[in-house]
């Protein structure tokens, strides 16, 4: 087990290193002079040069790369060009919205998907199954930003139940803050829930046919008991794997949804930073996001391997 763990940890580190190299290479060729952006259309050459020196753009590329990596390891994510604030501060501020939003979305989608998926599996080939799967098919086909637009149109403009966007801020109270996250979370959660419901259903159906469930039934367990105690527990393995993979899609979804609802989250910060050519912010957020996804996938693999010893041999499909 430990050699497996060590091997995978090593692999994780290599992945992160390669990721950081590629990010640095790609974003350092960004044509664009941050000084011009800050000073704008009317600025003069001498003021531009002064600002460039201020920002340290005159060091060599490898030097900048190593400074960057060592900085991250010490928790220093550099300083944003456009906001003149430590990037770590910006990230923490934005995380206070993106993290709750992501958690809300994942909770909502899981809470919806798993019961519905199990229910559909339990009623296999009957109307409930067809109905739920039909909705799931629809849910998967709907673009989340279009769904968000429709939600705003209906629940905000027509009914006035929710604000059309923006984040009330945690200091306005838990209620107000959560209220501004409802529509975004729903917009993110529903398409995820659709995928998750389908996967749950297949996974449960697959496990139900396994021998050990038949044995449980033979032993006298009721159908539902067998379902919950054995099938679902084992079905959780692929479900958790998919949850981990969903993170990638959640990331992409968050960027769009945060734009539709103009939420000051990490996703929108990234999008704006790229438009503003704020290299420091972009580099650090991208490496953070990539590291998060890679780490979570790693953890999921560990979880998967811990549950199923057959997988520790080296392959993991």
């Amino acid at each position: 087990m430990t050699t497996f763990l060590a091997k995978r940890l090593f692999a994780l580190l290599i992945t992160l290193l390669v990721a950081s190299l590629i990010i640095f290479l790609l974003l350092e060729i960004l044509p664009g002079d941050p000084a011009s952006i800050i000073l704008g259309v009317g600025a003069q050459e001498d003021t531009l040069a002064a600002l460039r020196t201020e920002m340290g753009l005159d060091l060599s590329a490898p030097e900048r790369y190593f400074r960057w990596i060592f900085g991250i390891l010490q928790g220093d994510f550099g300083r944003s060009y456009t906001y003149d604030t430590p990037v770590s501060e910006l990230i923490l501020e934005r995380l206070s919205l993106s993290l709750p939003l992501a958690l809300l979305a994942i909770s909502l989608s899981t809470l919806l998907a798993i019961p519905f998926g199990v229910f559909a599996a339990a009623n296999h080939k009957r109307f409930a199954d067809t109905g739920i799967m039909g909705f799931a098919q629809l849910g998967v086909a709907v673009p989340n930003f279009w769904f968000a637009i429709l939600l705003i149109l209906f629940f905000s403009v027509k009914l006035g139940w929710f604000s059309a966007g923006g984040f009330a801020g945690w200091e306005m109270g838990l209620g107000a803050a959560l209220k501004s996250l409802v529509l975004p979370a729903v917009a993110l959660a529903l398409p995820q829930a659709a995928i998750l419901a389908r996967v749950t259903r297949s996974a449960v159906l697959e496990t139900v046919r396994e021998d050990f469930v038949r044995t449980a039934r033979a032993k006298g367990l009721s159908r539902n008991a067998a379902l919950w105690r054995h099938a679902v527990r084992n079905a959780l393995i692929p479900v958790v794997t998919i949850l981990g993979l969903q993170l990638s899609f959640l990331l992409a979804g968050t960027i769009i949804i945060e734009n539709v609802f103009y939420l000051p989250g990490l996703g929108r910060l990234l999008f704006q930073a790229i438009a503003q050519r704020d290299l420091v912010v972009v580099k650090n957020i991208v490496i953070l996001l990539a590291a998060t996804v890679v780490t979570i996938n790693f953890l999921v693999d560990m979880f998967y391997a811990a549950l199923d010893p057959r997988l520790r041999g080296g392959t993991h499909e």
Binding site: D33, I38, L39, G40, A43, E93, G165, G173
Partner: protein
């Protein structure tokens, strides 16, 4: 038992909702939430050119020697009076007494000297150094008098000192103004939640008349659709420059909103690289001018808001000359001119478009109009960052669309390396005369001559003057209808109730 629980639950629900909603209800009377499309990169107007900076702090947080009001008039601000020498080279400003910066520091002549010297210094990051270029010396005479000497008489000097780039800062706090602006204005900076909003509070020690508003929030909403939704839902009370003109009619028919269409200093032009083939040929530029249908562009991109212009000058200005008829819409003539220039089958070129919708939408329409006369344009959308680098700095472009929002900026056509690279010594001579002329009648004549030269030379495709589409809650008064400088002056704003 059940009924007691029910009653408590109801009480909790009511008080809970009261708490949630009451905050907003009470704040409405002396608080304003203003929506804006672009977030300022920082809050020091003397260290950046972004209009968004001035839109937050001008007249609210910072003040200069003079101030410009919504009628483009120069008013005293930190200088309560001034004397101009007869040769126009010496300005003696008498400063207001008893003024304090927001951090308690006293305001006096040393701050004026500091601010002006800082702007003109070698390593200054001021984006409008040209405003100060005529200054040869700034001297304090006691705590309340400042004498400024110029090397040439500058007709606009007082107006220039009213720009946001010329506000007075305190030497102690100047370096941190980007994130914690300390000025002398009636509003203090409270908080900036990056990417979301900027909050202003009241200055209890303000020297002048206290504004009716005690607090204000500038909410940053770049997306036009989000802006519409926010205004409709009441999340913002006002949008000084509403980014979605297609919704104007909707708001106009809604009795709870006021819609005011005003003017800005934004000449929206199809900038042409005058040093790039084939645009260096007057015939080609004239052909393009004939191919353009300005009204169609205004209708399609701005839903009718905007005034056609024939030169680089604002129509609402007294010295404006209507030159829109210089090259009227005439595709046939355009084709003829192109053939004369040696392009009977037209030619291909690129059109780089920055993010604003006047550029993106206007660009699509212009591409279609030019296609009709044989000019095939490849539309290249760019972000501001790339626009500044490629188009503005490196002049790497054929055509682009941009709105020049600084007031009275016809002087940019004298700069040979300004991105559209127009070089005409005759024009430069006119502007030089203008700079040293103070007599209004002669100034108007010279400005007219300058406008005529630009129109005849079809230097750029002169499209329209950007309109200021202001939409706000009908109970709000005092917001500017026109925008002679980039600002959201909240000092005269109040709620009706």
């Amino acid at each position: 038992m059940k009924s007691i629980i029910k009653r408590y639950a109801k009480l909790l629900l009511i008080s809970g909702s009261a708490l949630i909603f009451s905050g907003s209800a009470f704040a409405a009377k002396t608080h304003l939430t203003m929506g804006m499309s672009l977030e300022p990169p920082h809050l020091d107007p003397t260290a950046g050119a972004a209009a968004a900076i001035d839109e937050v702090v001008y007249a609210n947080v910072f003040e200069g020697l003079t101030r410009i009001n919504q009628n483009a008039e120069v008013l005293p601000a930190l200088a309560d009076s001034w004397i101009i020498s007869s040769d126009g080279l010496t300005y003696t400003f008498s400063l207001r007494r008893g003024v304090k910066f927001h951090d308690g520091a006293a305001f006096d002549s040393s701050d004026v000297v500091f601010s002006l010297e800082r702007a003109t210094a070698e390593n200054s990051t001021n984006a409008q150094k040209a405003l100060f270029s005529a200054i040869t010396s700034v001297e304090a005479q006691g705590k309340n008098i400042v004498v400024v000497k110029l090397k040439t008489p500058t007709g606009n000097f007082l107006f220039n000192m009213g720009w946001g780039d010329a506000v007075i800062v305190d030497s102690a706090s100047a370096s941190s103004n980007k994130s914690k602006p300390i000025g002398t204005g009636p509003f203090t900076f409270k908080r900036w939640v990056k990417g979301d909003r900027i909050e202003l509070g009241q200055n209890p020690n303000y020297w002048g008349k206290k504004p009716a508003l005690k607090t204000a929030t500038f909410k940053i909403i770049p997306d036009p659709a989000a802006a519409v939704a926010a205004l409709m839902a009441g999340d913002v009370d006002a949008f000084a420059n509403f980014p979605a003109p297609e919704m104007a009619a909707q708001f106009q028919s809604d009795p709870s909103f006021t819609v005011k269409v005003g003017s800005t200093e934004g000449e929206t032009i199809l900038s042409t690289n005058n040093q790039q083939k084939p645009f260096n040929d007057l015939l080609v530029r004239q052909a393009i001018a004939h191919a353009l249908n300005k009204q169609e562009i205004i209708d399609g991109a701005m839903f009718g808001f905007g005034t056609p212009i024939g030169t680089h000058f604002a129509p609402h200005h007294a010295a404006y000359v209507d030159l829109t008829g210089t090259y009227p819409h005439d595709p046939v003539k355009a084709k003829q001119l192109l053939a004369e220039a040696g392009y009977p089958n037209g030619f291909k070129a690129t059109l780089k478009l920055p993010p604003p919708s006047y550029a993106r939408r206007g660009g699509e329409i212009i591409a279609a109009q030019l296609r009709k006369v044989g000019i095939e344009l490849e539309i290249i959308p760019v972000q501001w960052a790339q626009w500044l680098d490629q188009v503005f700095k490196n002049k790497d472009f054929d055509l682009t669309i941009v709105s020049h929002t600084e007031p009275m900026d016809i002087g940019i056509y004298t700069r040979p390396t300004y991105y559209f690279q127009y070089r005409n010594s005759g024009f430069n001579a006119v502007i030089e005369s203008l700079n040293v002329t103070s007599d209004p009648k002669r100034r108007y004549a010279l400005m007219g001559a300058a406008q005529a030269i630009l129109a005849k030379d079809a230097v750029n495709g002169f499209l329209f003057q950007l309109a200021k589409l202001g939409i706000w809650n009908k109970n709000v008064n005092g917001l500017w209808e026109n925008s002679p400088v980039q600002a959201n002056d909240l000092t005269g704003v109040s709620w009706n109730n």
